[in-house]
């Protein structure tokens, strides 16, 4: 409650400021990801248009809804999860995107909709700390659920989102093309078999800490976070087998005062150059099909878009439709 009030107070203070300076506000999840977005999207955008971009965050769906309903929208472009973006578009919380400004011909069609385009896309991958497994190394999602062969705590994303439920079903033998509609009973039954061994991670930094310390020697991670650990010189095992793709989306909350700037910002962010530079900095894949040619082949090989042969796409439309139902069941199951 306090948080909301504070947000509203800050929101009105920011509106006043933003209106004076004609800056726009970009909101994302913080950390290295937002740093890369600021450097590779916001900076070139400001250089080209003269419009300043203030960074805010972290993304908070409750705040977006409160802003739109109160008619005091201070976030002009927001990086959000794609399934939420599809749902929010239907609920009237977002501005339709202007595709005369944003060139969607070059964008990966998996990540284009009326109210949202991909920000970047990532994969959930099996990762492990080789120091904890002396003999055989894990290789498949089934290994992730096999506490006899690979004992120890395993770590999974805590919030209800595409990824973990799919992994449970795939590990249980469901064929990738038969995943949807999700068999929740079967997924939770599979998750039940390892429930006491699960440590949940709430954010990327925590997932890295759990793996690096050996607190959870195996888990299901955002690929970019494992790439960052490797870049720091830590030996990390990664299996791309059945990597599950999900995406972040760029959206414009309904009622923003800087709609034109917001559309231009998204055009810049999803350009071949912007996407290529961001991907090189983060280990996440570009949503612009023209970016690949601009990138160092060695870097490209480490990205999810080089792994399409063993890739399973999470169905964002299905999730958008069933987000509440799955979420309620997910949290109830966690609390049991």
């Amino acid at each position: 409650m306090k948080k909301t009030m504070f947000a509203l107070a800050v929101a009105s203070a920011l509106t006043a400021h933003a209106a004076m300076a004609e800056d726009m506000v970009f909101t994302s999840w913080g950390g290295t990801t937002q740093d890369a977005q600021a450097a590779n999207w916001a900076q070139p955008f400001t250089e080209k248009t003269g419009t300043g971009v203030m960074q805010d965050g972290p993304t908070d769906y409750g705040k977006i809804k409160a802003m739109v309903e109160a008619g005091a929208v201070t976030w002009d472009v927001v990086d959000a999860e794609f399934d939420w973006a599809l749902q929010a578009g239907k609920q009237g919380l977002l501005e339709p995107l202007d595709f005369t400004v944003i060139d969607k011909a070059k964008l990966d069609p998996r990540f284009v909709s009326d109210y949202a385009v991909g920000s970047f896309y990532y994969s959930f991958v099996l990762g492990w700390n080789p120091a904890n497994f002396s003999d055989a190394q894990p290789a498949t999602l089934a290994d992730l659920f096999d506490t006899t062969k690979f004992p120890g705590k395993r770590t999974f994303y805590k919030w209800s989102a595409p990824g973990v439920i799919e992994a449970a079903l795939l590990a249980d033998g469901v064929a990738p093309d038969a995943l949807y509609p999700l068999d929740l009973d079967r997924a939770f039954a599979k998750l039940d078999t390892i429930k006491s061994d699960i440590i949940w991670w709430e954010g990327g930094a925590q997932s890295q800490q759990l793996l690096a310390s050996g607190e959870a020697p195996i888990g299901f991670f955002w690929n970019g976070r494992l790439a960052a650990l490797q870049a720091d010189g830590m030996p990390v095992g990664i299996s791309w087998d059945q990597n599950i793709t999900a995406a972040d989306a760029l959206v414009v909350p309904k009622g923003t005062a800087h709609k034109d700037a917001a559309m231009k910002f998204i055009a810049e962010a999803t350009s071949a150059e912007g996407q290529a530079a961001f991907a090189a900095a983060t280990g996440y894949a570009p949503v612009n099909l023209g970016s690949a040619d601009l990138m160092d082949p060695a870097v490209r090989a480490t990205l999810p878009d080089a792994q399409t042969a063993v890739q399973v796409n999470a169905d964002m439309a299905y999730w958008a439709e069933h987000r509440d139902e799955i979420g309620n069941r997910w949290y109830a199951w966690q609390a049991q």
């Binding site: 809804k65 209800s160 949290y331 609390a335 049991q336």
Partner: protein
Amino acid sequence: MLSATSGGRGSGLGFAMPAILLLLAFFVIPVAFLLMRSVTEPAPGLQNYATLLGSTTYAKIFFNTFFVAGVVTAITVLIAFPVAWALAIMPARWSAVIFAVILLSMWTNLLARTYAWMVLLQQTGLINRMLKAIGLIDQPLQLTNNLIGVTIGMVYIMLPFMILPLLGVIRKIDPAILQAAALCGATRAQALRRVLLPLAGPGLASGGLMVFVMSLGYFVTPSLLGGTANMMLAELIAQQVQSLVNWGMGGAAAFVLLVVTLGLYAVQLRFFDQAEAR
């Protein structure tokens, strides 16, 4: 607010006006809106409350909330009482130093302190490695992601809130009373149970209720040091509002927590007034 009302009801009000306006604008009105949403979203009616009070999952979360708050309060009292007693009877110079240390810990960022506990308590953390090195354990103890982690982290944070009111009461106790008890043939246990504890009662009650009430609404520490099996009400509210964008349900849970907290606070005020009257 307390001191304003106890110092003379008419005169204090003017000075309290800025605080009252601030609370009204940024607390009372938004809370009223939230309460309204809990009975209007997604449809008008009481179904959010029916769901909240009717499901076994939510019942478990309510139970967790009260259970954790109760355990934390009990352990905090057990630790805080001897500390407050020692502070009251030691030389003033020493007690000032220890008092400063206790206050200092309160001023350190909550998140930083909770992360520090995570690093200390995890399986590969300092405590487990030390216990292993001196041969007390073979397998690391599970100290985080469960009730143990939440309890350790929260007791540590709550201790000052228990020590301060206790110290105030214990300092007022005349040491001669305990000597008198001893002269009359009371054993140390009897003196503690029949003389010291009743005299320290108001401090125990107000500190205990404050810790209990604060624990009920805690979010950061249970979320980071506890597992989802010990989920508390504040975390449920965060899920509903931030992840599911279900303001109706989040509002209902927040309102129930508010009512319980206000109820307990009313009890605390009664104890306070009684203590003042003595």
